[in-house]
Structures are given as structure tokens and as C-alpha cells.
Symmetry: C2
Subunit: 264 residues, 2 copies
């Protein structure tokens, strides 16, 4: 099982859109996928159109009451399940403060699922708090969605430092798989500049850095209004607009990521 | 002096772009404007190309050491000054925890400037923490930048509730001036739908709601790559691309907001 965290503390850069549609693309290609919504905003849960009854168990219960992931997970499409978020997650970081081993709650609950899923894709909140630390100790790989804009580029250094900090603190083999350009507008010089900047930065990594070997994915997710419309219908791009740039790009990304897997 | 907070806890929706270019547009029209960067990311400070010497005083010093705004403010263009942010602001919320009257630090320091400036425009961080509460007790008016997308619409209710909470808790006359559509793509049905949704929501307000009388501004800020390029040159849209949709739209917004001022 590959556990991949989709992470960038800068808001609105395409994390949820990438987590949901990458999970759906992998499932279309025959992989068994669990999408884990770790953002109190619950946008991945909304994106797939999941309406939860009041007493439904969510990721909040996993963190605060020790519920098993299986008790929260619901099938969304063939081979794709979601463990939904709930706004109460906002309080989980405070409630976890006194728990033993609070950084590894998620890692411990994912353990038993290694046989059931080929992929776990974790949609993270736009912050570097305890929930995100849990994602980084549970996942072995990180994908960084990046909007190819100057302001969005500024926080990348801090994000990479945080992953290095988690790797050192917990002696894990966490590694950055790559950066995926989202909302890409071909033909703008800003887009090309940002790609070159990031490629240069990644190429200069030391063997000890978690981003050693990380790449800017070949696949660029083009700006495409259908990707922004799909969540309002509670659908992935494959159910909403299967013949669109958005569907093409996320299918290509899934294949690029699946080909990049380290042989088990 | 009008003090206006530019606020939306959803990330990446156009807060900084609006705060900087609205401030610049008001200054072009002859107003004396202070731009206050209250976001630890310091994007407004970056956007105007301000490079601070190591020992420079910033908004952090205003919060944690009682420095006066005047000691931090630097002129950016004619009639426009900025009080810059610093990454240390990340820690200010914790450091303020034990201070008396910690929600009013900003309001107290702005008091003496009522004669010096016609406008104070506050760029807020994408969160609803203590720094943002300080913005809401210092400002009398709020502008909400909104990306006309389904996911961006979800948090609007919570944002409005937070302003109502601040108004009740501190018995202030804080009011929501309006919602400005950012990154607007004319001709998409999603854009039109979001405008209608928000207009309907605002029209249904009670007299006691802080958003009573709030509107969706006529001026829509169109998506325009020049607005995303300008910060990489450390310039406002007026210095970078004075003949562009971005410059046109922010000038129109400034005039709409200035016309909406309550007679002193
Ligand atoms: N390639 C794209 N083309 C057009 N719109 C997009 C694209 N990717 C994402 N969007 C839209 O842009 C907005 C931001 O994307 P998204 O919500 O996925 O970002 P995020 O990083 O998850 O945000 P947050 O930080 O709030 O969690 C959403 O409204 C989404 O529908
Ligand atoms: N009208 C527009 N057209 C094109 N790009 C835009 C527009 N407005 C903002 N942008 C770009 O979109 C990105 C997000 O905008 P901005 O940084 O102003 O949002 P924000 O709400 O301040 O983000 P944060 O929540 O991180 O503070 C930036 O890269 C900015 O340059
Ligand atoms: Mg998201
Ligand atoms: Mg900003």
C-alpha cells in the first residue's frame, strides 16, 4: 500500500482537487483507493457529494475516540472509498494535545489496511499543525500541488523544511515524490518561470534532503473551469466531465505517479 | 479615517491582491492610505517589493513590544505607506495570550493616526485567530474577497458568523461593506450562479446582522495574469501594468468603495 499526503500550507492551490481526482483516476485504472479527508473544511467530502447523517463516524472519531477507519469509510465509486472529515476536526488538534504519541494516531490506524488498499491519498488542511504532522508520519510519500504564481512559490521552502523536520524527528523514510503544477496556464511566462525555479531548486538537493530525487511532474494540470464546477455537483471530474482537459490531466498524473512507485 | 479589513479565512481567494491594489488605487485618487500587513506570510509586504533590513520594526513589534505604527510604516508610493509584516507574527498569537486586552492591541495603536490617513486597509491572514480578531476590533468595515467557485463559497457562512460574534462580544458597530468577486471569469455559469447565491444570501439579512446592507460589489475583478505577475516585480498593478484589466477593475472598485462611505 502506498500512502501519499497531498500537502501545501498555502491555501487555494489545488490540494483537494488533486487529492479527489487523483484518487478517482487511480481507481479507474484498477487500483483500490482510500481517500482520507484530513481538512476540517471537509472539502474532499463535499467534492464527492457525501452527505453524512448526524451520527455518522468521521475522521474526527478516529482521532479523538479511537474509532477504526473502516467504521468511517464509505464507497464513492468502484474501488474508491472516502474516510470523511467533519468540522469538529478543528478542535481535534487541541484535544490531542495531551494524548500519548499524538503525532502517530493516524499511522497506527492505517496499519491494518495495508492489505485492503493499494493507495491511501490524504487531503491535508492548509496549515502545518498536528493534523498535518499526523499525515506526514502516516504517509511515506508527499505530493505538493503548486499554483505557478509568485506568491504561491514563497511558502515552498518552509514546507520542505517541515517535511525534513518530521523525517528527522521520527526517523522516517518520508520522501517528497514531486511537485504538481495546478491551474496551469500554458503560454504565460510566469508559469514557465516558476517551473524552471522549482526544477532548479529540486535539482540542487542533497542526498539527505527528503526532496532528493523529487521532480516537477511532467503532467501539468491545466486551468479548466470544469474542475471547479465538478464539486458543486458532488462529482469527481470523471463523473462530471469525462471528456475534458481536467479528466485527461488527472489520468495522466495518476499514470505518472503509479509508474514512479518504488518496487515493493 | 476609514479602517477596512480585507478578510476571508479561505486561502488563495485574492485578499492580498485586493488589499494592495485597492490601497494603491485609493492613493492614486488622492487619498492618504496606510496598508497594514497582518499576515505572517507577509505577502502584502512582498507584493510592494519592500525588503526589510534585519533590525527593522514590523507589525510584530507593534503587537509584542508596543512599538508605534509610525515606527514601522514606510512609504511605497505617493500617499501610500505600508506597515510591514514579519514571519515572527506566527508566534504573536501565542505571545499575546496573557496580555490584558489582547483583542484590542491594534485598535489602540491605530487611534492616533485618525488625522494622518484617510484609509487604513488591513490584509488579513487566511485564518480566524487572534490577529484577525484584532483586525476586526480595529476596523469598522470589512470587505470579503471571494473566488466565484463552489468550494470557496462554503466558508462564507462561518466568516459572517465570526464577524457577528466580534460585534456582539465587543459591542462594536463593525459592518460588512460587501463581497468582491475576484478572479472572475465572465461567461462561466459557475460565476453567475455564485453571484446570485451571495446576493440572495445578503438580501435576506436581518437588521441586527453585521452584513445587513452589504452588497456584492458591482465591480468584478476579472482573472488577469498581470495581477499575478505584478508581485514578482514588487509592484502594484498600477506601476506594473497601468493599462490592464487588473488596473481598470481595482480603480473601479476603489471608486465604488469611496462612494459608499458613510458621511462622517
Ligand atoms: N486546474 C484547475 N482549474 C480550475 N479551477 C481549479 C483547478 N484546480 C482547482 N480549482 C479550483 O480552485 C479552487 C481552489 O482549489 P482547491 O480547493 O482544490 O485548493 P486547496 O489547496 O485544496 O484549497 P484549501 O487550501 O482551501 O484546502 C477551488 O474552487 C477549485 O475548484
Ligand atoms: N484577478 C486575478 N487574476 C489572476 N490572478 C490573481 C487574481 N487575484 C489574485 N491572483 C493570484 O492568485 C493567487 C492568490 O491570490 P492572493 O494571494 O491575493 O490570495 P489571498 O487570499 O491573499 O491568499 P492567502 O490566503 O494565502 O493570503 C496569487 O498568486 C495572486 O497573484
Ligand atoms: Mg482543500
Ligand atoms: Mg494573502
Amino acid at each position: 500500500m502506498r500512502a501519499i499526503a497531498v500537502l501545501n500550507q498555502k491555501g487555494g492551490v489545488g490540494k483537494t482537487t488533486t487529492a479527489v481526482n487523483l484518487a478517482a483516476a487511480l481507481a479507474r485504472d484498477g487500483q483500490r483507493v482510500l481517500l482520507l479527508d484530513l481538512d476540517p473544511q471537509g472539502h474532499a467530502t463535499l467534492h464527492v457529494g457525501l452527505e453524512l447523517p448526524e451520527d455518522a463516524l468521521t475522521v474526527y472519531d478516529v482521532f479523538v475516540r479511537g474509532a477504526a477507519i473502516a467504521e468511517t469509510a464509505r464507497m464513492v465509486t468502484d474501488r474508491m472509498a472516502i474516510a470523511p472529515a467533519h468540522i469538529d476536526l478543528v478542535g481535534a488538534e487541541v484535544e490531542l494535545c495531551d494524548q500519548e504519541n499524538r503525532e502517530h494516531v493516524l499511522a497506527r490506524t492505517l496499519g491494518p489496511y495495508a492489505e485492503h488498499f493499494d493507495y491511501v491519498i490524504i487531503d491535508c488542511a492548509p496549515s502545518l499543525g498536528l493534523l498535518t504532522i499526523n499525515a506526514l508520519t502516516a504517509a511515506r510519500e508527499v505530493i505538493i500541488p503548486l499554483q505557478p504564481h509568485f506568491l504561491a512559490l514563497q511558502g515552498l521552502g518552509r514546507l520542505l523544511q517541515t517535511t525534513a523536520g518530521v523525517r528527522a524527528a521520527f526517523a522516517s523514510d518520508l520522501r517528497i515524490l514531486g511537485v504538481v503544477m495546478c491551474m496551469f496556464e500554458r503560454g504565460t511566462k510566469l508559469g514557465q518561470e516558476v517551473v524552471r525555479d522549482v526544477q532548479g531548486f529540486l535539482a540542487a538537493a542533497d542526498a539527505a534532503d527528503p526532496w532528493y530525487g523529487a521532480v516537477v511532474f511532467e503532467t501539468q494540470i491545466r486551468r479548466n473551469i470544469k474542475l471547479a464546477e465538478a464539486p458543486s455537483f458532488g462529482k469527481t471530474i470523471f463523473d462530471y466531465a469525462p471528456v475534458s482537459h481536467g479528466a485527461e490531466d488527472y489520468l495522466a498524473l495518476a499514470r505518472e505517479i503509479h509508474a514512479a512507485r518504488v518496487p515493493a
